[in-house]
Every structure is written in structure tokens, then in C-alpha cells.
Symmetry: C2
Subunit: 96 residues, 2 copies
DNA sequence: TAAATAGTTCAAAAACTTTTGAACTATTTA
DNA sequence: TAAATAGTTCAAAAGTTTTTGAACTATTTA
């Protein structure tokens, strides 16, 4: 059955879905301790996830706006986007 | 495949999973505008969800600590638990 | 006491998400 | 130029979540 309750919360729900997974939480945690953008390969290796699975999770995190990505030649460099956390989490309760 | 990345984030992930669904977000939104505890039946009817499905969603919200529930005779009265939002969302980024 | 009401539980079905491996594109290195 | 490396895409398989209806318990109302 398709969800029909509210259609205005899309970005909010995408953010929560992106956060509701241990692999993606581990990715965010890893990135939090990087000063610089890091390549997907480096993150994936550090966490022991396959490149296909990595590709899937980085796509979701980017779609949710929790990370940004820049492709430089062969590699894709990712970094946290703190403004999205601020916007969708920090005041979530008051904005409910 | 079982998730093996981190086993300490259980409550955090339960909270995000609970929030990553439009029915449950609608329940929380509804409760936000209630001064008093409300019965599950009243909420369910207001949102047009079946009682079985309501029972399932209220259980998840309660397990995540986002609502508390008190059974009074036939009825179960639910209300938001703002401390959980505060604890798991407000400073999520800094706690990462 | 019988019928109605509030909610739970259970198992099956439906829907959705994640992992996997193979095949692919593009870039770099030997 | 060939081989290696970084990442993507695709379809199938595996896993998880949500909905459904029927059967149930407990309380209330007639």
C-alpha cells in the first residue's frame, strides 16, 4: 500500500531514512572525524563494506543532503553537510 | 546479512527508524497539538489508520521512547516524550 | 447477561530496502 | 597500449518492515 498521509515531509523523511541504518551512521561518524573530503573508497575500506554497497549508501546520504560529493577524476570525495543536520534534526521537535 | 558495524547505537537507530515513516510522523504531529494524553483510538481515527496498524505503530513509537503510554481500563492513552527528541535529535551532529 | 467498544496478537501477504556479483565507464600507471 | 584502480549500474536474491484480517482479552453499556 502506498503512503498517503502527508506529502510535504519528503525531505524530512528522507533524512530520517538515511539515518536509520548502521552502515550509514558509521559512514557519518567516520566523516565527522575527517578535516578534509575523503574518497568513497577510503571510507568503504575503513568500514569494510563492498564498493557496490558503498555506492548505494553514499547515494542515499547525498540524496538526503547529509553529505556532499565532488567527483575528481576517478575518485569521488565526500564530506558532511552540517547545515542539513541543523535544519532537519536540531529543531525537529519544535517544528513538528 | 546481519549488521555488524556498531552495536552501541541501538537506541539512536530505533529512534531514527521510528521517525522514518509518514504514519508515525503524522501521529507525532497530531500528539504535538494535544495538551492532554489521547487514546490510541482517537488518534487512529483522526489519521484514518486501522486499529491493527495503529497498534503496530504505537508500539514502535513507545519502544523508541518517543511517546509514553498509560492503559486506563479499556483505553490506552499516549503522549509525546519530549526528552527523547532532545536527547537523540537536538545534539545529534555534535554527538556523532 | 449480551452486545459493543478498545486494544492486542498472530500469521500471511505485500511492500520496501539492502546486498551481491557481473558487466560497465572513465581515469591512471606501468 | 595494457593492466589496474575508482566508482556506477543492473537484476536477482536476501532481508526487513508494514498492512491485512481473523481471533482473542478485557472493559463498559444496555
Amino acid at each position: 500500500m502506498k503512503k498517503t498521509i502527508d506529502v510535504t515531509d519528503d525531505q524530512q523523511i528522507q533524512v530520517f531514512k538515511a539515518l536509520a541504518d548502521p552502515v550509514r551512521l558509521a559512514v557519518l561518524k567516520y566523516l565527522k572525524h575527517c578535516e578534509e573530503p575523503v574518497s568513497c573508497g577510503v571510507v568503504g575500506k575503513a568500514l569494510g563494506i563492498s564498493k557496490t554497497s558503498g555506492s548505494y549508501h553514499f547515494k542515499l546520504l547525498e540524496a538526503a543532503g547529509l553529505i556532499t560529493a565532488e567527483k575528481i577524476a576517478r575518485e569521488k570525495y565526500v564530506q558532511l553537510q552540517p547545515a542539513t543536520f541543523e535544519r532537519y534534526l536540531t529543531n525537529f521537535y519544535d517544528q513538528l
